[in-house]
Amino acid sequence: MMSLESIPIQAFLIVSSALFCIGIWGLLNSRNAVRVLMSIELMLNAVNINLMAFSSYVDNNLIQGQVFTIFVITVAAAEAAVGLAILLSLYRNRVTVDMESFNLLKW
């Protein structure tokens, strides 16, 4: 085996894959709406790790992946603000954060 001169990119990719799958599991299985939002943040972070790894290993001269990560962080902040506002107004009307009771759009 050749001597390592840096961490292989596969290590970063595996960590981000695992983080993404944990996020999906939490998204599907949480009953608390706040925890669903947290799972979405976990998934966004997994995507960011992926982008940063590729920008550092493949495109390290013109680091466009880092710019993309900045934009993803921006959108994630906006998403968290709006999501929690929706959650608050839902809580005001339903007095619960249980995902199973939010069935207004179900027919």
């Binding site: 390592l4 944990i22 999906i24 599991w25 706040v34 550092s56 880092q66 959108v75 906006a78």
Partner: protein, 199 residues
Amino acid sequence: MSIAITTQIICFSVLSLVILIGALGVVLLESIVYSAFLLGGVFMSVAGLYLLLNASFVAAAQVLVYVGAVNVLIIFAIMLVNKKEDLKPISDIKSRRIISTSICFTLLSLLIRVDLTNVWSLSSPQNSIGEESTIRIGEHLFSDYLLPFEVASVLLLMAMIGAIVLARRDVMSKDISTGLPVDQELIEKSSEPLLTNKN
């Protein structure tokens, strides 16, 4: 840049362990407050990974935005809605758990297989520009990514106004459904929720 490889590997292992265990804690722990604080730890460790990838600006942005803003927002939301409630049991919860867990493990094995079997054509040794990356990001943001940058500012403004509109209480003088005058005090009184009995 020139941290010894052993140090890099040790840092990477510790950070990824913290990330994965913390993420499992966020998802699995019973108390939502513990989850929120663990989420802050996960965000900090992700910032550490970015430092390991030699992206100090993005690491700082991660700490500022995620730990300083998003996590605090989540903790505030928990404080506003944290009421003990006993959830109604779901009849087919077990099959749901089994299906979702198997889907997640299938996706994970697929992703890991792609990660390991694909031959990545890596151009050059890592971290060649180092601390210059902040300058490079600034150049990108003000030349070829100028339009997305401006659109992002409009998006943030829209999100701010939208969050205010969604989260504030109505300030109408009369209740729409009952016609009674609405009290304008700051502390919210317990009122009849509009939609609870419609399940």
